[in-house]
C-alpha cells in the first residue's frame, strides 16, 4: 500500500508541453488559472544544445529512442503491422518545436472550406472546418507576435487578410534561397521569404539566431529559434501558476460516475504513480499519442476509449509526407551553394498551393528549397557509398546540391488511422500506437506532379542532374500528425467541437494537432498554437464559469 499523498487538485491539467500544450498553459495561467503540466520527456535547456550532428541526427539525443518507444505500421487491415519509427517526434518539454524548422506560414482562406469547394471526393472524408480564416486571424497575429516570428507580411499573395505584419524582418537569404527565387522568377512564378519561427532582430529580450547553420533538427543554444520551450513556457512559469512536471508519463484519463473527467493518472521518473485531479483536462500529446491515450483510457462508461462514441478517435489521420527533387550542380559551371550555411531552408512559394484541376489532381502544397544536410548525413539517391568514387562524389558535390520539397496536402480517409497495437508494448509495458495507412490516389497524383514541377525549377536553376524522390508510402517523415480527433459540429462524425472540447465529455479538450479536420499543405504548428489560444480563450470566457475553486 502506498501512503503517499497525491498532489493538490488544480483548475486545469494539461497533458504534454509541446506546441498546443504550452500555448494553452500560457493563455490560461495569464488569465489567473492554476495549471499543472505533465510532460513525459525531459526539460532540456538551451545550454544542452550545440552543433553536434552525430548527437542530434544519428544518435537521436532528442528524437525518441525507438527501442523504448516503438510504433507499428501496416498499409491496411489485412496486413500484419511491423515495428517502425513512424512519425518520430521529440518527446521533451517544448515537444516538436524544440528542434524544428520553424516554418510558420498561415493557412489560406480556402483551406477552411474544401468540402464546399470540391464536394464529395470518392474514397476521402473531406469536410469543411467548422471555423473560418477570419475567426482564426486574430490568433494567428497574436501567436506571430508573442511567439516571435520573422517574415514579410503581405508578400504571400495567396494569403488572406492579415491585421498586422511580422514582428521581425525576414531571415537572411542563403545561396539556396537565391537560386530558388531566381529560377522561379525565370519561370514566371512568385516567391517570398519563408515565414520563420525565429527572431532576426533583438526582440522581447531575445537575440537573433547566430546563423551557425545548425537549425533543422537542432535545438538552439541561443534565443533566436522560437519554440514553446523558450517563449510560451517561460511566459506561463512567470505567472507563478504553471507547475510543469517533466519526466511524467500520463497513462490514463480518469472519469467520474457522471461521465466527466476528474483528472489523470501518471508515472513519474522513478516509476511512482500519482493522480492529478482537476476541473478540466486538456490533452496535448500530439496527433499520435493523443488518440493512443484516449483509446487507453477505457472504462465501464467508455468501453471503446474515451470520447469515442462516434468511433472516430484515431481516424482520418493525415501526415504531410515530405517529398522532393534533388538538384546536382556542376562545380565547373556553377558557384557553390554552401547548403549548410544559414538555417536549412530559405524562401518559399504558394504558386502551386490552390487547386488547378488541369494538373489532374486537386489541392496543392507550399514548396521550399533546402539543403541536403550536414556532412555525415548528406546524401542523394545514386551516391556512391564507398571507395574513391564515394570520396570524389562528396568532394565534388557536397557544396553543389540542393533540393526543393513539398508537404503533401493529403486527403483524409476514414480507414487511415491510429489505434492500439494488440501485441507490441513500450518500455513501460503500455500498448503502442499502430498506424494503418494507405494514401488516396489523389495524394500520389499530387505528389508526383509537384515533385516533377520542383525538378523543372531546379533545371531552370541550372542543375545538371535532377533526381525525383517520390514516396512509396507514408512514413511520417515530417512529424506532422493530424486529424486523429477531428473537429466538427456533428458528434456522429467528429470527436471535438468547434472549441476543441470533446463531444462526449464536457470538461475534456484536445488542443494539439489532432483536431485538424483536413490536412492543409503547410506546416501546422502556427495553426496549432493559434487554435489552442482561441480555444483556451473560450475556456476562460465561458466554460470555467461553473468550476469549483481549484
Amino acid at each position: 500500500m502506498k501512503t503517499k499523498k497525491n498532489p493538490e487538485p488544480v483548475d486545469v491539467v494539461i497533458v504534454g508541453a509541446g506546441a498546443g500544450g504550452a500555448t494553452a498553459a500560457k493563455v490560461l495561467t495569464e488569465a489567473g488559472m492554476r495549471v499543472v503540466g505533465l510532460e513525459r520527456g525531459p526539460w532540456l535547456k538551451p545550454e544542452h544544445a550545440s552543433g553536434d550532428e552525430l548527437k542530434y541526427l544519428n544518435r537521436n539525443f532528442i528524437w525518441q529512442d525507438p527501442k523504448l518507444k516503438p510504433r507499428t505500421y501496416r498499409p491496411n487491415d489485412r496486413e500484419e503491422a511491423v515495428v517502425t519509427n513512424f512519425s518520430a517526434t521529440p518527446q521533451v518539454v517544448g515537444g516538436g518545436t524544440t528542434h524544428w524548422g520553424g516554418m510558420v506560414p498561415r493557412m489560406t482562406e480556402n483551406d477552411f472550406k474544401l468540402r464546399s469547394i470540391h464536394g464529395d471526393v470518392e474514397g476521402a472524408s473531406l469536410v469543411d472546418w467548422p471555423i473560418t480564416y477570419d475567426e482564426l486571424e486574430p490568433y494567428y497575429t497574436r501567436v506571430e507576435w508573442e511567439f516571435g516570428t520573422s517574415g514579410l507580411g503581405g508578400a504571400n499573395r495567396w494569403e488572406g487578410r492579415r491585421s498586422r505584419g511580422y514582428p521581425t524582418k525576414p531571415s537572411p537569404l542563403s545561396q539556396i534561397g537565391r537560386t530558388f527565387a531566381t529560377a522561379m522568377d525565370k519561370l514566371g512564378h512568385s516567391t517570398f521569404p519563408m515565414p520563420q519561427g525565429m527572431v532576426t532582430e533583438p526582440y522581447r529580450g531575445r537575440q537573433p539566431f547566430s546563423e551557425n547553420g545548425f537549425w533543422q533538427q537542432y535545438p538552439d543554444p541561443g534565443t533566436g529559434k522560437s519554440s514553446t520551450l523558450i517563449s510560451f513556457i517561460p511566459d506561463a512559469i512567470n505567472t507563478g501558476l504553471y507547475d510543469l512536471r517533466s519526466d511524467c508519463y500520463v497513462s490514463e484519463i480518469l472519469v467520474g460516475p457522471d461521465g466527466k473527467a476528474t483528472g489523470v493518472r501518471y508515472q513519474d521518473e522513478d516509476g511512482d504513480e500519482w493522480v492529478q485531479l482537476a476541473n478540466a483536462v486538456i490533452v496535448c500529446g500530439g496527433g499520435i499519442e493523443t488518440p493512443r491515450l484516449l483509446l487507453m483510457s477505457k472504462s465501464a462508461l467508455f468501453p471503446d476509449g474515451l470520447a469515442n462514441s462516434s468511433g472516430q478517435v484515431g481516424r482520418n489521420a493525415t501526415f504531410h509526407q515530405y517529398s522532393f527533387s534533388v538538384g546536382l550542380f556542376d562545380r565547373d559551371l556553377t558557384d557553390p551553394l554552401y547548403g549548410w550555411s544559414g538555417h536549412y531552408m530559405s524562401g518559399c512559394s504558394f504558386d502551386f498551393y490552390e487547386t488547378d484541376e488541369s494538373r489532374g489532381h486537386i489541392l496543392g502544397s507550399l514548396i521550399f528549397p533546402s539543403n541536403l544536410g550536414h556532412p555525415v548525413n548528406w546524401s542523394f539517391p545514386g551516391r556512391p557509398t564507398w571507395g574513391s568514387a564515394a570520396k570524389d562524389a562528396d568532394r565534388e558535390l557536397f557544396n553543389h546540391t540542393m533540393k526543393i520539397g513539398i508537404l503533401l496536402h493529403d486527403l483524409p480517409v476514414e480507414s487511415n488511422r491510429v489505434d492500439l497495437d494488440p501485441t507490441v508494448t513500450d518500455a513501460w509495458g503500455l500498448p503502442v500506437a499502430r498506424i494503418t495507412h494507405t494514401p488516396h490516389w489523389n495524394d500520389f497524383a499530387q505528389e508526383k506532379w509537384q515533385v516533377a514541377k520542383n525538378g523543372e525549377v531546379l533545371e531552370a536553376a541550372g542543375a545538371r542532374k535532377v533526381i525525383p524522390v517520390n514516396m512509396e508510402r507514408i512514413t511520417g517523415n515530417t512529424s506532422h500528425e493530424l486529424g486523429t480527433t477531428r473537429m466538427g459540429d456533428d458528434p456522429a462524425t467528429s470527436v471535438v467541437d468547434r472549441w476543441c472540447r470533446t463531444h462526449d465529455v464536457p470538461n475534456l479538450y484536445v488542443f494539439d494537432a489532432s483536431f485538424f479536420p483536413t490536412a492543409t499543405g503547410i506546416n501546422p504548428a502556427l495553426t496549432i498554437m493559434a487554435n489552442a489560444w482561441r480555444c483556451a480563450d473560450q475556456i476562460i470566457r465561458v466554460d470555467s464559469r461553473g468550476w469549483a475553486q481549484g
Binding site: 525531459p42 532540456l44 550545440s50 552543433g51 553536434d52 550532428e53 552525430l54 544519428n58 537521436n60 525507438p66 527501442k67 523504448l68 519509427n85 514579410l152 507580411g153 503581405g154 508578400a155 499573395r157 505584419g165 514582428p167 524582418k169 537569404l173 512568385s190 517570398f192 521569404p193 537575440q207 547566430s210 546563423e211 551557425n212 543554444p221 541561443g222 521518473e269 554552401y338 549548410w340 550555411s341 544559414g342 541536403l372 550536414h374 556532412p375 555525415v376 548525413n377 548528406w378 546524401s379 539517391p381 545514386g382 551516391r383 556512391p384 557509398t385 564507398w386 571507395g387 564515394a390 570520396k391 570524389d392 562528396d394 568532394r395 565534388e396 557536397f398 557544396n399 518500455a427 517523415n477
Partner: protein, 238 residues
C-alpha cells in the same frame, strides 16, 4: 535521473591513443578496411582522420555516446536510455565480431593472407564480396541514377542504424568517423570537413556562444524584390 540532469564526465576519446575496445589485431583490420572505404589520395582519408578510433570508442560502451554540449567531456547516461544504448552497442559489437571473422575468412580463402597483408585491389575485392554488390563506380552526371547505393538524405527523420548489417554499418560508421565532430575520436583536426569544403565550427562551444556563424556564405544584405507585391508596403512594420 532524467536526461536533463545527466552529469558530465571529464573524459575524452583521446585520453589513450590506441584501442579501448578492439584487440590490436582487430584495430589494424578495421583501420585497413576504413582506409579502403575512404581512401587517402591527394587529400587525407580515413587513416589520417583516425576513423578506427571513432569506431573503437563507439563500441567501447555508453560513456562515449553523447558529448557534452560544449564538447568538454561526455554525458553519463542513466536509466532506460542507458540500457537501450547498452543493448544497441552490444548488437553492434556482435556485428563487428562476426564481420571481422568474415573479413578474415574471405581474405584467407581468396588470397591466402590476412586482410591487412593484402594489396589495395585485393582488399577492395574482399570488401566487394562482403558487400554483395559491385564496388561503386565514379559518379557521372549522365549515368542513370541507380549506379551507386546511397539513398535520399535523411529528410527530417531520425536515422536508424539498428537494422543495418555489418558492411553497410562499417561504411556508415566510417563516414561518421570522418565527418562527425572531432570530439567523437575521428575527423582529426577537422580534416574530413576540409576535404569536402565544409567550413565547420572550430569547437562545439563556438556554436553555443554565437562566435561561429556561416553568414559570410549567405547574402545577408539582400532585399526581397517586394516592390512587385503592392500589398507588402502596407503591412510593413513602421
Amino acid at each position: 535521473m532524467g536526461q536533463a540532469e545527466w552529469v558530465t564526465d571529464p573524459i575524452s576519446t583521446r585520453d589513450v591513443d590506441g584501442p579501448i575496445y578492439f584487440s590490436d589485431e582487430d584495430w589494424r583490420t578495421i583501420e585497413a578496411a576504413a582506409a579502403r572505404i575512404i581512401p587517402t589520395d591527394n587529400h587525407p582519408g580515413a587513416t589520417e582522420a583516425h576513423v578506427v578510433r571513432f569506431i573503437d570508442r563507439m563500441l567501447a560502451g555508453t560513456q562515449f555516446v553523447f558529448a557534452a554540449a560544449d564538447g568538454e567531456g561526455f554525458l553519463r547516461m542513466q536509466g532506460r536510455e542507458e540500457r537501450a544504448w547498452a543493448e544497441r552497442i552490444e548488437q553492434r559489437r556482435d556485428l563487428y565480431r562476426s564481420g571481422l571473422i568474415q573479413l578474415c575468412d574471405v581474405s584467407v580463402g581468396r588470397f591466402g593472407a590476412h586482410f591487412v597483408a593484402l594489396s589495395c585491389d585485393q582488399q577492395d575485392a574482399v570488401l566487394e564480396e562482403l558487400s554483395g554488390e559491385p564496388k561503386p563506380t565514379k559518379f557521372s552526371f549522365d549515368a542513370p541514377e541507380d549506379d551507386g547505393l546511397g539513398g535520399a538524405p535523411a529528410g527530417n527523420q531520425p536515422v536508424n542504424e539498428d537494422f543495418l548489417s555489418f558492411f553497410p554499418l562499417l561504411v556508415l560508421n566510417s563516414r561518421q568517423g570522418f565527418y562527425s565532430d572531432p570530439v567523437y575520436g575521428g575527423n582529426e583536426n577537422r580534416i574530413g570537413w576540409a576535404v569536402i569544403g565544409f567550413d565547420g565550427p572550430p569547437t562545439l562551444a563556438s556554436t553555443m556562444d554565437g562566435s561561429y556563424t556561416t553568414k559570410k556564405y549567405m547574402i545577408v544584405d539582400a532585399e526581397w524584390p517586394y516592390e512587385r507585391h503592392p500589398e507588402v508596403l502596407r503591412y510593413r512594420r513602421p
